[in-house]
Symmetry: C2
Subunit: 446 residues, 2 copies
């Protein structure tokens, strides 16, 4: 390990003590803040992941500076440095240095959380449900991905002169559909088993797959720096083949996985075997030039056909609760919300962009409700509104873009507002619309 | 982040790709090797943790160089560097640099595993069982800690002229008792509910507490560098007060924890609340100058009285399966077993030390079987042999010493041999002794 100048002036013992205190203190701050906000969100019937992001904003560069990523070039709260310094017998400047030096290990843990979350998303994909509603859901999903993506990207690029990469990425982030919000409203109003409910849920599964393929391609392209047609085609083909292989393997390889699992006798076999599959798929995705996160999702898809999915979910959920929380809090800490201050004239452009994204995000998904052909009378507005909330999937996509350093602070904030806006509005609008048609809905079970 | 010379010569994209591949590849190597060895150990009726350590030795500096800690100053297998390099389009030297630079994040994750393991150990401590066998178990535990500690330390210091710190540490590492091995042999031969069985299990719980207090004091002293009577007393008092406070809080604070848990509604409440308690206790221990690991154990003791212990265990076990595995594999990778080669004359001293430790480790615990007063006829040899296996507890203690860089390679290897020797021998000797007295045993239920 490198030993910067200041650290030479304190003893090894003091440095180790400060390092342990810094790492433990960071966890404390992250989890106390995230839990407080998550509990608040649950009571507001909003996704807890949003609470984690808000917690990050509160403790981060836009808030109390209790946790700031080194890239933000902001200073930590001085009282915090002094506190740890006085406990370890080290000067605050040395604590700051240790903080910066050990930050990558926190980021590495948070990345494990992202992988675990995407793995769980893949694992919970009900591919059978998707097949059941088939054509109708596919039409809704493809339209609901294509419209916001095309309108968002084109609008940002041509109207607001956003450079191509961030514009494409923002467009891609608008493709998400969070099934959590809609499913809970549908469930509450006994609308989940209707044709509309089933269509939305099937379409949301396909949405995730399409969205993550687009994102993997965009992030990989942004890494390369060029936007030529050759690499795009190559990456799209690679991503599609990768996901198709995962879907194929979910039928063929899952039984092999189960066979192996039944033969493992040392404790922890479920979590370790799942983790090995997860890491293997991430490695494979990265090795062929795609995002490792796509591999995590594919690993989940593969194991979604295992007969041990319940056991796998039980062991992966604690990992998600801990490490994905760190991921979202860290994303929040880096967000500079001062770009949203409407009293600053320079910010007005950014706010207009945010409003544009929100309108496109709503219009694109609602329009998808009219995209399919159906002999039966279905409530197309309900389908459209059901596809609207971006929720945690939108935040995962935003997080991927932030980590890949594709977005400007203003665009990050605009995407965040779009996600929050659609997530807040969807359940409210759905309740209004459904309260009128509730009885009809119950009479039309799928 | 610092950017060393070589990394400047490859693009950001290549560096990030290589970094992800290196981190994922390390997990793959660790878990595949650890799982293979753990499965082998289970079939040999040995602790899986031993398999993890052996896996580390096989892939580490004493083996194939697939994973070497930077402190070991050994080179990674060149074919591995070339493989990752060719996938990421980076020269092998750059991959080696990225490997070294990102290693601390793996070490940080492994430390989380150690904390989780000690937390689980504390959580599983059946304090009520300890109270039930009371005086008898206490006598056995204290003797079983004092004898090996005193004999081991004195022997190493006076006979073999080992410096005081490593000698004291090695003595402390000999105090451990692994209940796992004995419990499984007792259980198999229906001897668990006898007075001897209950005494051994109660004594093993107390052993853990005494051993970890001694270790926390020794590690803290080693950090300070001096062996004066003032700091020793201070630390011993701090450690005893800390553990006493944890035992007190297990009666008083656990209900408060349960009350809070029942009020949390956002998902993941059990794992997050437990993790916050864990981190809080680690922070408190470190802040008063003790080992953070003692705090992890204390957190487990506190929550062992919660009505949610089963749920807590379920969420912590996956963390232990993943991250404690990394901890033990890393310990194994750093072990230089060439110091055990008997054909190297310079090594003979080390082998004699190892033999000495093994004899003291056996004699000290067996003697503890004769330390208590009992009106009833009890089989003292069975009690002594039951206390003998060091198993995973001994390896945790060894790991703490290795991390604190207290031990020489030769002494590390000697302690490892002592742990392996007692762990192998105890079940064999117990089976021989118990097969003769089995009937008597069953006639004496507690």
């Amino acid at each position: 390990m490198l030993m910067p100048q200041l650290l030479l002036e304190i003893s090894n013992h003091q440095a180790e003590m400060a390092e342990t205190l810094v790492q433990l203190g960071r966890y404390l701050i992250i989890f106390v803040a995230a839990r407080l906000m998550a509990e608040l969100m649950v009571r507001l019937q909003l996704p807890t992941i949003l609470g984690e992001l808000v917690a990050g904003v509160v403790i981060g560069v836009s808030g109390f500076h209790l946790l700031v990523p080194p890239e933000a070039h902001a200073e930590l709260a001085h009282w915090l440095l002094s506190l740890v310094g006085s406990l370890a017998g080290a000067p605050p400047e040395a604590v700051q240095e240790i903080y910066t030096e050990t930050f990558p290990s926190l980021a590495a843990v948070s990345k494990l959380g992202l992988y675990a979350l995407l793995f769980l998303t893949g694992l919970e994909s009900e591919l059978d449900e998707l097949v059941a509603v088939g054509v109708q859901a596919t039409t809704v999903a493809v339209t609901g991905v294509a419209l916001p993506f095309a309108m968002g990207t084109a609008g940002l690029y041509f109207l607001f002169h956003v450079p191509l990469f961030p514009a494409v990425f923002a467009g891609a982030a608008m493709t998400a559909t969070s099934i959590g919000i809609t499913a809970s409203v549908f469930g509450e109003l006994k609308f989940l088993k209707t044709r509309e409910g089933q269509t939305v849920i099937g379409a949301a599964v396909l949405d995730d797959i399409l969205g993550i393929v687009i994102l993997a391609v965009v992030v990989a392209l942004a890494g390369g720096g060029a936007f030529a047609i050759g690499p795009i085609l190559q990456l799209v083909v690679a991503a599609v083949v990768f996901v198709a292989a995962a879907l194929f393997l979910s039928r063929k390889a899952a039984p092999g996985f189960d066979w192996l699992l039944d033969r493992l006798k040392a404790p922890g076999e479920v979590v370790v075997a799942s983790f090995v599959v997860l890491v293997l798929c991430c490695f494979a995705a990265q090795a062929i030039g795609l995002e490792a996160a796509l591999g995590a999702f594919a690993a989940g898809l593969i194991l979604s056909a295992s007969k041990h999915t319940d056991a796998i979910q039980d062991t992966v959920k604690p990992l998600v609760s801990l490490f994905a929380t760190i991921f979202f809090v860290l994303i929040g800490t880096a967000m500079d919300l001062s770009v949203l201050n409407p009293f600053e004239p320079a910010n007005r452009q950014g706010l207009i962009v945010a409003a544009f994204l929100l309108v496109v995000a709503i219009a694109g998904k609602v329009a998808a409700g009219w995209s399919y052909v159906s002999k039966e009378k279905t409530n197309r507005l309900v389908v459209g509104l059901g596809m609207m909330p971006r929720g945690e999937v939108g935040l995962i996509f935003l997080g991927l873009g932030t980590q890949a350093e594709i977005l400007t602070p203003a665009l990050e904030a605009a995407i965040l507002l779009m996600v929050i806006g659609t997530t807040f509005l969807a359940p409210i609008l759905l309740r209004i619309v459904l309260s009128g048609v509730e009885r009809d809905g119950v009479e039309q079970p799928a």
